[in-house]
Amino acid sequence: MLKIKHVLFLMFGVTSFIIFYMGFLNYITTEDQTMGLIMLTFSGIVSIGALIGTFYVSRKITTPIESVIDKMNKFSTTTNVDEDFLPHNGIKELHFLHENFKNMTGIVSDTIKKERKVNKQLQDMDKRKVEFMSMVSHELKTPLMPILGYIQLLKKEELLGKLNPQQLDAINEIDLAITRLQKLVQDVLIVQKIDLEKLTVTNSNIDSEKIVNTAYNAFLPICNLKGVKLGKNLDANHNLVSDPDRINQVFSNLISNAIEFVPKNNPEIEIGAYDEENQIVFFVKDNGAGISNEEQKNIFKKFYQIDATSKRKKEGSGLGLAICEGIVKKLGGKIGVKSEIGKGTMFYFALSKEKIQVQNF
């Protein structure tokens, strides 16, 4: 690239040389010696004048431009610039360049300042949210402890004596309600943890078969009690690296949901796991009423509850599937549902067999 300085010197240098050369040619070819000498002197003065003028103009224009370039460089790295870095030198274009650059830097630094302030506010807000969450968590859980404790105490005949049937009924009702409240508190707190990205997961070697068996054994008694046929289908025999407690949590949630939604006649649930490419898919199938495509879009949303075909209001918080989704995402997996009205429902979640770098917040 060319510098203005060099272009000016080239142009005026050549012009000066031509003028001087013409004066010189005139001097050696003319017959009027005096006139030739005058012309030579004149052309010499004009050439030298032009060169000096070029030098002056070049300094006057290029130096300030270089200064602006320098300040721009400085500004782009530090976002700071001196207020008036260019002395007023009478050149209109340079004056405007200077003024506009000053305005622009002003706006840019203001914007940056504002952005930093907003950022700081957001960080503070996030910190307060976390503090609030842990305060709420503590305050909600603490009173549950004596309530649950006294209920258990009252139910122990050998400690506080036998209750009459009505008293026992009352205690059982309180127990049911408080257990629901406890579940709700847990759900709300875990949703908040997921929202604040504070959910932590561990990584250990786990056996998909063991996960399915654990869930199967845990739910067999309640399924027997409710007359639900619980099946097990294991097509996967692979280890994966993930968080066994969180997987159990999701799996249990899905099975509990299925138990809620199976039909009264011949209720059936099948749980299991199978291989799919580099993933292990855990699933829970039921022969319930099925979920419409429209509802499938919403079921993972918080506080969403299906009431279409069953008519009865479910007891849950409406947070279960949102929690499942949050946990599975955190484990680097994918959760989904396949269902058709009248043909049952299958909830599944797929986890990579290979260890996924899970970021802990």
Partner: protein, 115 residues
């Protein structure tokens, strides 16, 4: 049992005494610390979040002294990574989250205290 919540300490001590265990209650951490220095116990049930002096302070003070106790932490708070390190370096044998099933609590006390 060191816990600032009087309802919890009352419930747990009632339950324990009905099961023929003697339970001393401290609703202020400072009192609890004094009891621990003066007397001897098979196990200490310790709350973490308390006003003035908290459970971590007590664990730290016990660590600095030469008295040794089997501690069961019973808390409703989330324990941060940093605080978990403090607990790991202390005499804590087990951490239970409130609300805990009282039968589980009794079982863990028996385990920790080798009763």
């Amino acid at each position: 049992m060191i816990d600032d919540n009087e309802q919890i300490t009352k419930m747990v001590s009632t339950f324990l005494s009905l099961n023929n265990h003697k339970c001393t209650i401290a609703n202020h951490a400072q009192d609890g610390l004094e009891f621990m220095i003066k007397n001897e116990y098979d196990a200490v049930i310790l709350d973490l979040t308390m006003p003035d002096m908290d459970g971590y302070d007590i664990l730290e003070k016990i660590n600095e002294s030469d008295i040794r106790y089997k501690v069961i932490v019973l808390t409703a708070s989330n324990i941060s990574q940093e605080n978990m390190e403090k607990i790991k370096q202390s005499e804590t044998k087990i951490i239970l989250q409130k609300p805990v099933d009282i039968d589980v609590l009794l079982e863990k006390i028996s385990q920790v205290a080798n009763l």
